[in-house]
């Protein structure tokens, strides 16, 4: 009975603690001078170092979508240029942001949670606090800020590389000529698509980094606890990306 009540209350407890953590982070924005160096480091780790894996995933997403669209849609009455019309918006509006989000949940989210979790259980966070530093400002603000700033950059990279991947696939398989692909993409180009994708990237960047920071920061129970936080950070980031993806589609489309 007690356990059931506890499980019902837990999400609200987490949400409350998460909000308080964010409030504390906002409260420490005034000290940003101290944390600036840290932020550059995080932007490199979260942003630049993620480019190869994001590029790989984006290229394959683009390629697969191209081949699959050709298989599903193109027929004697539907011309191949439809491939461009379908693939480009799929990438800009959904795939580039979501695939990047999933990859970064694992790559960035797990790393953040493991790092902060280890710092928690080895008393490094206590040591920061004991020196008179705001550990939330020092550890969390730079990571979340780097996530918010770098995720849109990664998104743009994913879009470009995704389109390149689909063009390459088109060329290799011959399902559509490059000229027709671009023609189709142009005819059906929706100005809002990239903005929509950027908004998503922004939101996902915030979600992944803040959720992972939260999981890591409140780690309990030694190495096992760090493992738990790391898994949870990756899983919860993915879950909230899916939820946010759906919510944004409903609100903005």
């Amino acid at each position: 009975m007690n356990g059931v009540v506890l499980n019902l209350v837990r999400p609200f407890f987490s949400l409350g603690r998460f909000s308080l953590l964010l409030a504390k982070a906002c409260g420490s924005l005034g000290d940003i001078g101290i944390y600036r160096k840290n932020m550059v480091v995080q932007m490199v780790r979260i942003g630049l170092e993620s480019i190869p894996i994001v590029a790989l995933a984006a290229a394959f997403s683009g390629a697969v979508t191209t081949v699959q669209t050709a298989y599903q849609l193109v027929s004697p009455i539907i011309p191949p240029k439809v491939i461009g019309a379908v693939v480009v918006p799929s990438l800009t509006m959904e795939l580039a942001a979501v695939v990047t989000g999933f990859i970064l949940s694992g790559r960035v989210g797990a790393r953040i949670a493991a790092e902060l979790g280890t710092m928690r259980v080895t008393e490094q966070i206590d040591a920061l606090e004991a020196m008179g530093l705001n550990s939330v400002g020092y550890l969390i603000v730079p990571r979340v800020a780097a996530g918010i700033l770098m995720f849109p950059v990664l998104y743009v990279a994913a879009c470009l590389i995704g389109v390149a991947g689909s063009l390459l696939a088109a060329m290799l398989t011959g399902v559509v000529s490059i000229g027709e692909f671009i023609l189709g993409a142009r005819e059906h180009y929706d100005n809002f698509g990239p903005y929509f994708g950027l908004i998503k990237a922004f939101v996902f960047g915030f979600l992944i980094t803040s959720i992972s920071c939260y999981m890591g920061y409140y780690t309990e129970g030694g190495a096992e606890g760090v493992g738990r936080s790391t898994t949870r950070a990756a899983v919860m980031s993915c879950v909230f990306i899916l939820v946010a993806d759906f919510a944004l589609a409903i609100v903005l489309l």
């Binding site: 710092m119 080895t122 206590d126 606090e129 020196m131 008179g132």
Partner: protein, 252 residues
């Protein structure tokens, strides 16, 4: 001066400290002793406001630190140097950068001055050459000494040592003891030493506070310790001496 008044703390309904009161005078070295798990580290974390008491209060220089704002608390904490039980070195930085970190963060000294002072602190703990090494590559004892160097880098008014000598060989232990004594004397630092090493207590402490069964069981000077007839205290000290004796004979 630090004053702990009627401090009570429980974790998951299990009381760790009950009605603990304690006064730490300016310039003295106080040893907090007690069995493993008796709440020594918990008490120490209350003194710098890392934990909040369930009831009771902690005063630092007359300020009740559980009722002040977070930014005021951070100012109070800057007067403290803390050596955590496991060292708590930042493993993302080299040993040198760990010691330089507080200087970088809280002073406006030039890069050269910081380098010089950092080196001085490392010399002080007899580790002049480990600067470039990462904490994960240091032995436990070396890590502790680097952490000690970091704790004194800003010349704090108060310094808290959580088990400064545990896990160290006898020679390094007595070096650390000398160091703690020397710092207390030279810089007029008020020191709180959490330990269960009676050697260390006898070597450095002016007064002793003994935690037993979640309560402050006994407080007194080193002289009182010898003449005390408290049985629990005696048992603790004796067990320690026996252990020290056994370790010594085992080593020989």
């Amino acid at each position: 001066m630090i004053r702990v008044e009627h401090l009570t703390k429980a974790f998951n309904g299990h009381p760790v400290l009950q009605d603990v009161s304690l006064e730490i005078h300016e310039g003295e070295t106080l040893a907090i002793i007690g069995r493993s798990g008796s709440g020594k580290s918990v008490l120490m974390k209350h003194i710098i406001g890392l934990m909040k008491p369930d009831s009771g209060r902690v005063f630092v220089d007359g300020t009740d630190i559980s009722s002040i704002s977070y930014s005021e608390l951070r100012l109070v904490r800057r007067q403290f140097g803390v050596l955590f039980q496991g060292g708590a070195l930042f493993d993302s930085m080299s040993a040198f950068d760990n010691v330089a970190f507080p200087l970088h963060t809280f002073t406006r000294k030039s890069e050269d001055d910081i380098r010089r002072e950092t080196q001085k602190c490392l010399d002080l703990v007899h580790l002049p050459h480990v600067g470039a090494v990462n904490p994960s590559e240091l032995s436990g004892g070396m890590r502790k000494r680097v952490a000690l160097a970091r704790a004194i880098a800003l010349r704090p008014r108060y310094i808290i040592y959580d088990e400064p000598t545990s896990g160290l060989d006898p020679e390094t232990s007595s070096t650390i003891n000398e160091l703690i004594k020397g710092l207390a004397r030279q810089l007029e630092i008020t020191s709180i030493v959490v330990t269960h090493d009676m050697h260390s207590v006898l070597a450095i402490a002016d007064r002793v506070a003994f935690i037993h069964n979640a309560r402050m069981h006994w407080v007194g000077s080193i002289n009182d310790l010898h003449s005390s007839e408290d049985e629990v205290l005696h048992a603790f000290v004796k067990a320690n001496e026996y252990f020290i004796g056994a370790a010594a004979s085992g080593a020989s």
